[in-house]
Symmetry: C2
Amino acid sequence: MDILVSEVGPRDGLQSIKRAMPTAVKHQWIRALADAGLKEIEVASFVPPKLLPQMADAAEVVREAVKIPGITVLALVPNMRGFQDAVAAGAPKITLTVSASEAHSMSNIRMTCAQAIESARRIVEFRDSLPAGHRPLIEVGVSTAFGCTLQGAVDEDFAISMAVQCAQAGADSVGLSDSVGYANPAQIRRMFKRLNAELGDKAGGAHLHNTRGQGLANVFAALEAGVDSFESSFGELGGCPVPKGATGNIATEDLVSMLHEMGVETGIDLDRLIEAAREAQRVLGRPLGSHTIVAGPVDWHRA
Amino acid sequence: MDILVSEVGPRDGLQSIKRAMPTAVKHQWIRALADAGLKEIEVASFVPPKLLPQMADAAEVVREAVKIPGITVLALVPNMRGFQDAVAAGAPKITLTVSASEAHSMSNIRMTCAQAIESARRIVEFRDSLPAGHRPLIEVGVSTAFGCTLQGAVDEDFAISMAVQCAQAGADSVGLSDSVGYANPAQIRRMFKRLNAELGDKAGGAHLHNTRGQGLANVFAALEAGVDSFESSFGELGGCPVPKGATGNIATEDLVSMLHEMGVETGIDLDRLIEAAREAQRVLGRPLGSHTIVAGPVDWHRA
């Protein structure tokens, strides 16, 4: 495997859809993704159900998902409370989000950027106090690293300094997120080169959106910068609340199709992945944004 | 202007839509595109109306379009007959298509690849025999250069040799077309580097599709190979007949948004371009594939 594709559809995709998916359907989807060869799946977000009723079953989803052999189950948490709940449910790897924009940080997790770093530090300390064998890996995603719908431009030095501080706080890896779909390939290449230079082994992956059709261009630019892990959502499930109707995460099958065509291995069975995405499309009853679930894989041509 | 964006929506986009657009609507769209700052617009295809009724008004469309100041009007032709008709209508620049796949060549223009080169040579000779001031520029697009839905894999050496032979036949420029949406960024970069090395000043642009969401990734790879001209379709108008329902050309506004965000100039007013695409969407009465007509431009952030 040359590249790790980290599937975030069951969390980021479903979080963006108002309708709450039954827990049994989530289980089916996660199993289908694991069967397609996905090695890492973000299955839930531990936030107050009042804020995000779609994720009210987070603990149950994690408890079921960790029974599936061969995958790393990821859960997203905004704070210590969420972290403790995710640990209790048995999540072996946990994603913390911080923002590179003060406005987004306040809006998303009700902390300043400095408070978010302090919160990350306390969470790492708590993790380290747990008994051996019960300490989840901690990955941080620096969101709005390439611009923010609330604040506008984001200072690149500040975004990198947030990543550095998270690594210093003890996170195992720190990636950059274009959670609003603003990034362009030149910026992606520049920023990930800096991230890799500053963080070394702790440099994490890219969380990219396809808001203006540039998602896979950003993947290609990130590959050139040495990024070896990408977050994506099967079916291009999900969307962005701003602006209304815009698409969200890059589609896992579009990502995998491009990587395989380039000769980059992922360990994923593209046909089975497409089938999983088509099943999600059937359940949701509306066309999803993924291109490859319409076009199918490139059958005849190999680079 | 750093990059030439060559708009092909009125030709390639409309050609792929079964419903024939009234000539007056085409005129309006072409004017709107010119008003948005597009410098080159492919407005029609000179093929037998029996084969392509959507293009039956090609001569009229060209005659009207050439009245618009500041744009280069392009017409596509499959053969000498089409070339003569395009010249008679006053097209100042004409695109000839040849294929890098024998199967596609026979299916598309009913010539072998060798016959297509010979046809190009005769067309250039005919052009050179015209009175000065009435000799259109001749650009060739080598289609299926990255793979073919009929033939499968296409030999890269053969595709490049087709381009070289077209240049030797006297074409002013020769580009490569991924008219079926098979290309991946690694291949695009490799092939355009070869094209530039072999053809020098005669190396033309990239005609790219977004069939599996990889269109702008291919643009970014082509930019790295030194390509400075791209064909795209406003609104992502059009589609690919194979497979059914798949999208076609890359969307002009997605391309322009990415280029501008990267700091690459096109001379195009993105807001007006988006308005032109939204108008086409209204006329067609169905959502088009373009992302930026949904998301709008990146207002706040500049790389």
